[in-house]
């Protein structure tokens, strides 16, 4: 069965395409037609629909997120800012750190273990793609009430998923949060952070320059993971009912990811990589369009060469597959043998699937026919941008007028204290943290129960000159504060993470954030979002720390009820001498206790 080709699209201009089933609006579809000067093929529609989705294009949030750049404080430390896979910060002595936090909320509700595991896997690949060795992870978690039945299903699975995936990669878990609130029932939040280390002059970027250079797909083979929508497309165009919908959960293979990490580091050390990109949510679509758009502008890919786990996959499905543990690299032809030899050493399958061109077009073929022929930038960068309407929630003044003054003062303070101590949000998180390896690779200076995690860096990579330096990281967020006042709530989250880093003795340098909200189509939610971003951008300016990257997660809601707005903020700091770190807790008897601040 042949695929919908460009040629065919030319002679069947009026064929109805299932853009609505793929979540695309009519005017967005019209824009695609205008760009191409014809109707898109099924494969082209697959590419535009995922690249222009909220998740990949940030179409509702973009206009607000710009403040992180326009209000950004001057920073000597910033080497790579927003817009790349992750931000990179100069931490001195020739070293750089790259870090980012990302959500995997919805998949973790559907299948807690695999959802959370693949969340860790995804953020780790982002860090790898910058040229860094991933060196630690953190996880900020939100669950429904501790006693609500579904929490019993979701929480153990999520913790097991993070534990099994992160531990298997040999990445120490150096901190995070566990918060319970009934507002998260049905919408748990799983935000995973990864930090990596690299030499300052070895940053890798997602770019495909140099016509004639080869495009290599390496790592796991491609299966029908997470392509519910794509199968509509694969069948709809051809009235083929045999292609049942295949909405499959993404399953992680941490062992393959561990091999990928070591393989990539050896590829970097051998200097055989011109550009590199991880395959995230939009898989091959995203990697090819983004690499091509940032390079010399063109790429030719033969989709038949993509190694498949399920040989019946159609090109539309291959383009949208979310299979995990895959990377795409651009390699000069003369380096291909060395590249392949390193992949073979690590048992990582690798295949050349295409070539960089200077045509300004991304062209893909299937069975010898052209099925994609687009300007890659139109998919990667020129997605729709919305100025969504927003207004303060109707109930906001009443919510704020309802102050704690109304509460009865308890006459038995002891009972009140015991009740507080027994509440799930204040209780020990050891049930969670004891399932995470905090020791692996022996660079962990601080981890739980400290307020911030800290790592030494001198021992991370063999052969590097010694340094006394280290990095510290903390994540914080408080949905209840943000619900009362999203502007101040986001600032409080930043302030807390900033303080947590500062008290260890480290100097805060940079910020990442994960913005978890309800539907952007609800003007009241959109107001919360706009306020939170404005608050965070203003506070970053005042504290002198730039936002280097992050992630927006919308549609965390059940029916019309959204979660509390939950901006989670991560702060990275640097300490000149890790031996001088300040642990939390009283270290010996007889010390004086001082209270600083108001």
């Amino acid at each position: 069965m042949s695929a919908d080709s460009v040629k065919r699209a030319g002679v069947t201009p009026d064929e109805a395409m299932p853009f609505a089933e793929l979540g695309m609006k009519r005017d967005e579809y019209e824009k695609v037609k205008e760009i191409l000067g014809r109707r898109p093929t099924g494969s082209e529609l697959a590419i535009y629909s995922v690249m222009w989705s909220e998740h990949c294009s940030y179409k509702s949030s973009k206009v607000h997120l710009r403040q992180f750049a326009t209000k950004a404080p001057k920073s000597e430390a910033l080497l790579v800012g927003m817009g790349e896979n992750a931000g990179v910060v100069d931490i001195g002595d020739g070293w750089a750190a790259t870090f980012k936090i990302e959500s995997h909320n919805h998949p973790s509700y559907v299948e807690p273990h695999q959802g959370a595991a693949t969340g860790v896997g995804g953020i780790v690949r982002d860090i790898m793609s910058m040229g860094a060795r991933p060196i630690a992870v953190m996880d900020a978690l939100r669950f429904g009430g501790a006693h609500q039945p579904d929490t019993k299903r979701v929480l153990p699975g999520v913790v097991e998923g993070i534990s099994s995936y992160g531990n298997c990669l040999g990445l120490p878990n150096i901190g995070g949060e566990v918060v319970f609130d009934p507002c998260y029932i049905g919408n748990p939040l799983v935000n995973a952070l990864c930090v990596g280390l690299l030499r300052k002059d070895q940053i890798k970027l997602a770019t495909a320059p140099g016509p004639g250079n080869k495009v290599v797909l390496f790592g796991a083979s491609t299966g029908p993971d997470g392509i519910g929508g794509a199968s509509v497309l694969a069948s709809a165009t051809f009235e083929d009912e045999s292609q049942a919908k295949r909405p499959a959960v993404q399953v992680g293979d941490p062992f393959m990811e561990k091999l990928l990490i070591e393989c990539c580091l050896e590829l970097y050390a051998a200097d055989v990589v011109v550009g590199i990109q991880d395959l995230g949510a939009a898989g091959v679509s995203c990697a090819t369009t983004e690499l091509a758009a940032k390079g010399t502008g063109g790429m030719h890919v033969d989709l038949n060469l993509v190694p498949l786990r399920d040989p019946s996959l159609r090109p539309e499905e291959i383009l949208m597959s979310e299979s995990q543990e895959r990377m795409m690299a651009v390699v000069t032809p003369s380096d291909i043998p060395a590249f392949m030899a390193i992949c073979e050493k690590w048992d990582v399958p690798a295949v050349v699937i295409g070539e960089v061109t200077d045509t300004g077009r991304l062209v893909m073929t299937w069975d010898g026919e052209v099925i994609v022929d687009i300007p890659p930038g139109t998919a990667a960068d020129d997605g729709p941008v919305y100025e969504r309407p927003y207004h303060e929630p109707v109930g906001q003044p009443a919510l704020n007028a309802d102050t704690p003054d109304r509460l009865e003062r308890p006459d038995n303070l002891r009972a009140a204290l015991l009740q507080l101590l027994g509440s799930p949000n204040l209780a020990s998180k050891e049930w969670v943290t004891s399932q995470y390896d905090r020791y692996v690779r022996s660079n962990t200076v601080l981890a739980q129960p400290a307020d911030a995690g800290m790592l030494r860096i001198s021992e991370v990579m063999a052969g590097a000159e010694p340094t006394t330096r280290g990095i510290a990281l903390a994540t914080d967020g408080n949905g209840r504060y943000a619900k009362l006042d999203p502007y101040a709530g986001a600032q409080l989250a930043l302030a807390e993470a900033y303080r947590n880093v500062a008290v260890t003795g480290a100097k805060p340098l940079a910020v990442t954030n994960c913005l978890n909200f309800g539907s952007p189509e609800d003007p009241e939610v959109m107001w919360q979002f706009a306020e939170a971003v404005r608050g965070l951008a203003d506070a970053c300016k005042i504290l002198g720390v730039p936002v280097t990257g992050g992630n927006v997660s919308f549609y965390n809601q059940t029916g019309s009820t959204a979660i509390h707005p939950t901006p989670v903020v991560g702060v990275l700091g640097v300490i000149d001498d890790v031996a001088k770190r300040v642990p939390s807790g009283f270290t010996s008897e007889g010390l004086r206790v001082a209270l600083l601040g108001e």
């Binding site: 399953v251 293979d253 941490p254 299979s323």
Partner: protein, 81 residues
């Protein structure tokens, strides 16, 4: 007293990293001629009474709600005989 077996396997379209790792290792161990391996779980359930229709219905429900994760797994219930 009867024994009922519940076999739980990952659905065919779901990645099975364990099975794949085993399949990849076999040639190195000198085993040729295997095209794929999938790894699943096997539960042996000892019943107090006989494996009659009502007991089997119970086991089926148990498989559906507890033994298998039906988001990613299929199961088969059968009486050992």
């Amino acid at each position: 007293m009867a024994r009922v077996i519940v076999d739980v396997m990952l659905k065919p379209e779901i990645l099975d990293p364990q099975g794949q790792a085993i399949a990849r290792a076999l040639p190195r161990l000198g085993f040729a001629g295997v095209s794929a391996v999938r790894q699943g779980k096997r539960f042996e359930i000892e019943l107090d009474g006989p494996a009659d229709e009502s007991a089997l219905a119970d086991v089926r429900k148990m498989a559906e709600t507890l033994l298998a994760n039906t988001v990613i797994e299929d199961y088969v219930v059968r009486v050992e005989g």
